[in-house]
Amino acid sequence: MSNQEYDVIIIGGGITGAGTMRDCAMRGLKTLLIERSDIATGATGRNHGLLHSGARYAVNDPESAEECIKENMILRRIASHCVDETDGLFITLPEDDLAYQQTFVEACRKAGISAEVIDPELAKRLEPSVNPDITGAVRVPDGSVDPFRLCAANMLDGKLHGGQVRLHTTVTGFIKESDTIRGVHTRNLVTGEERDFYAPVTVNAGGIWGHDIAEMAGVHVGMYPAKGALLVFAHRVNNMVINRCRKPSNADILVPGDTVCIIGTTSTRIPFEECDNVSVTPDEVNLLITEGAKMTPSLSSTRILRAYAGVRPLVSADDDPSGRNISRGIVCLDHEERDGLKGFITITGGKLMTYRLMAEIATDAICRKLAVDKQCQTAETPLPGSEESSYEAVARKIWEKPSMAQKAAAARMGTRASRIRTRDTLDEALICECEEVSVGEVINAIERLDASTLTDLRRRTRIGMGTCQGEFCACRAAGLLAKSHGCIEKEREDLKEFLQERWKGNFPIGWGDTLREAEYTQWVYKHVLGL
């Protein structure tokens, strides 16, 4: 054991890995997180960003519902700068059975979720975008949560507690001695550098890719990739989360988030080979618009910004090769107990909402293996940035008279916005006008949040997420990135990849203003800028 470098290695930079890293580091473990791409590139960054009250699961999955409402209340406290406390409505449309409302409300109350039946007229006043023909409405403590911010904040706190993060680094194999995992072989996908890392415990937090990671370690985890497609609209049409009060189905949740709103989702089983490159089909787009407009009619005339899809890491229970008994609950597998493979744990299943609990369960298991007796504190300790509850208070504390852009930055970063460089007015110049992102905020993301590409920057600052989809901000930010890493050729390629990635989400909904914007971008980059 002389050459061990860490107490624990976590594979996967989604919210589960980031949360586990934070928990481990807070309990004093020497922690390394390895991610082959960037933070939140899998299911973490490809969902609604819904702060579930648990109401959606109350009828069919009371256990998940109870987990959700508990974590919901915790996240409001510890992640206030990532959470928007909008509340939610479960509406009944004329075509839905109003009798379901009674079942729903009872199940919510049983799970500890406050569910208040309100007059449809009141619901329409609270949320004017809702279909005026609703026959029933229930108010629940739903909200929205920014998964990129949440993931970045967990990693940042892990780093503040001494943990290390290696992004753009892939695990190429396990260092195995007879029946024990001793560490991992890795390769940095940017520099090509190959390195080995050792730890008595390695955690597989790879989401759907955890299936392949487990295979590489020599054990089998029966995962079922279920694709979910979503659409982002260019305006924040609704202020409260809107759900259909019926058995969960397709396209029945509309979540407001930042400057946009998101409708989803669908659920389609896909082969593992497609997980790296999921795309949204025209049928899915049509379904999402049609169903979404039933809840909120104005969606049919609102510009769609992009289409995207994520893959849920569902797990079939052990000894169920058919996959019928699929749970959306948390699955923590100690492969020593299960398969006789020492030093290896898989944490999967679950959902964005319950990431902290998943991390706690995984870290408890890690501590048992390492014989460390430390209590979890992640439920009480605010994440970095969330020490204040209102972003306006944060902005006023940092800047005497905060500008719109500074308020926007405070809303994105919470108290961490104080780290934005504002040496002079030049740092306040806007790189992204749609989302009001300043030079200082971009530099902060490059220097402190490990952003090395334009797409990394998008996840940390919302650059390129606005109505222009990166038309101008992309090359402005590329200039700043080029300055930081000094390789122009690489940055030119990065710019092409960024534009390609944006186009991938634009062409499935390429009509109206989206097509106008795309024509402009394609013309400008090819003919005017000469990329």
């Binding site: 025209p282 787009v285 049509n286 500008s403 852009a405 007015t425 030049l426 306040e428 110049a429 806007l430 790189i431 006008e433 300043s438 030079v439 101008f472 090359c475 402005r476 590329a478 200039g479 700043l480 080029a482 300055k483 122009i488 050729e489 940055e491 030119r492 092409k496 534009l499 390609q500 944006r502 186009w503 991938k504 062409f507 390429g510 009509w511 109206g512 097509l515 106008r516 914007e517 795309a518 024509e519 402009y520 394609q522 013309w523 400008v524 980059y525 090819k526 003919h527 005017v528 800028l529 000469g530 990329l531």
Partner: protein, 377 residues
């Protein structure tokens, strides 16, 4: 009031047609929303591989010097592109090694001009580069506002202080034979370009910025001025919303601002541009032309409109209004006898007319000639 020709769309195509007709003595009006593709003009007339006297004269009379020097030009991302007929801003070179040593000059806090990309691109061609950012107190006011350091705002300041910039560059210049500057000069006074070139003892290469394009906006201003001096009526900030078409001919059009006062004319020209300019509209099922409901050549299925690779040619950009050989627009397969479609609303349905600026000018002149021929008859 009745015109000989009403032109819908005041970009390069519409203005070229309007000027040609006014010169020939026809009364015309142009309806313009105010924004058009000249605002992101690269400075090179795409697909003009020749320099017809008629075109260079038309521009020269408007105070715009075009030069025809087939070669390559430096693009803002540090790449090179073939180019021929261009504005005087654009330097054209026989080869990509445009000098021995270059001084690239920009302004502190200006993010829309890509010095490091230019330097890398030039160094690849064997040109040694040095980047200098000017710290001008005259730009301080712009710097204070987070979104004011953009090309046109800087150009307005440069119209006043370009001589200061020339002096600064003379001081900075060591042994460089080339100076690269952003295209933020001569917004209202083109003579500034040649005076900067004379004032700096090295070849000066003005290079593009992020839009809006200063040379493009200047071109728009000068063409519009020329058109109005010729007696043309430029209705700025208006938009055609509908048309009255009887017996295969347009009788009048309806505009947003004029309401019930319909614009009547013997001939109509549609130069409203492609998608971005709203000459073409799209919904999930089809691409359409909103003013007249003209036929649009397109693939039937939306999935055929795009190439999933961003940088590849996009099929939707080729779609456009269908026309007969004299550019009469078609509706229901039949030509409307006094309506001509010109410019980028044609997409690539008329490949013989070229693309971009070349298409705008060729189709505008062809439509004007057709109208003049018919008017004489």
């Amino acid at each position: 009031m009745k015109f000989n020709t009403v032109i819908i769309g005041g970009g390069l195509a519409g203005l070229t047609a309007g000027i040609s007709l006014q010169k020939a003595g026809c009364s015309t009006a142009i309806i313009s929303t105010g924004q058009n593709a000249l605002h992101f003009f690269s400075g090179t007339l795409e697909s003009m591989e020749d320099a017809p006297q008629r075109v260079t004269d038309l521009f020269a009379e408007a105070g715009i010097a075009l030069h025809y020097t087939p070669g390559v030009r430096l693009m803002p991302m540090g790449t090179f592109k073939k180019a021929a007929l261009s504005l005087e801003d654009i330097s054209l070179f026989p080869e990509t090694k445009i000098g021995q040593k270059a001084l690239i000059v920009s302004f502190t806090g200006y993010h829309d001009f890509f010095c490091s990309f230019l330097a890398e691109g030039l160094e690849k061609q064997g040109v040694q580069c040095r980047i200098k950012l000017l710290n001008l107190p005259e730009l301080e006011q712009l710097e204070k506002s987070p979104s004011e350091m953009r090309s046109v705002q800087i150009a307005r300041t440069m119209d006043r202080i370009w001589e200061t910039v020339v002096r600064e560059i003379r001081i900075l210049l060591r042994d460089e034979d080339t100076v690269i500057l952003p295209q933020v000069f001569g917004l209202r006074d083109t003579s500034v370009l040649s005076r900067i070139r004379q004032g700096i003892p090295a070849q000066v290469v003005f290079t593009g910025t992020l839009p809006p394009s200063v040379p493009g906006i200047r071109t728009q201003i000068l063409l519009k001025r020329r058109y109005e001096l010729l007696g043309g009526t430029y209705l700025m900030g208006d938009e055609a919303t509908g048309a009255h078409v009887y017996d295969g001919a347009v009788h009048s059009i309806v505009t947003h601002n004029l309401g019930n006062h319909f614009l009547e004319a013997d001939n109509f020209i549609l130069s409203t541009g492609a998608f971005f300019s709203k000459g073409l509209k799209s919904n999930p099922f089809e691409i359409s032309e909103p003013v007249f409901g003209l036929d649009v050549e397109q693939a039937g299925d939306r999935s055929d409109w795009y190439n999933p690779e961003f940088m590849r040619e996009q099929p939707y950009m080729k779609y456009g209004v269908a026309t007969d050989s004299s550019l009469h627009a078609l509706k229901g397969g039949e030509p409307i006898k006094n309506l001509y479609a010109i410019g980028s609303i044609l997409g690539e349905t008329r490949p013989e007319l070229g693309t971009g600026g070349g298409l705008a000018i060729r189709s505008a002149l062809a439509a004007a000639d057709e109208i003049l021929k018919n008017t004489k008859e």
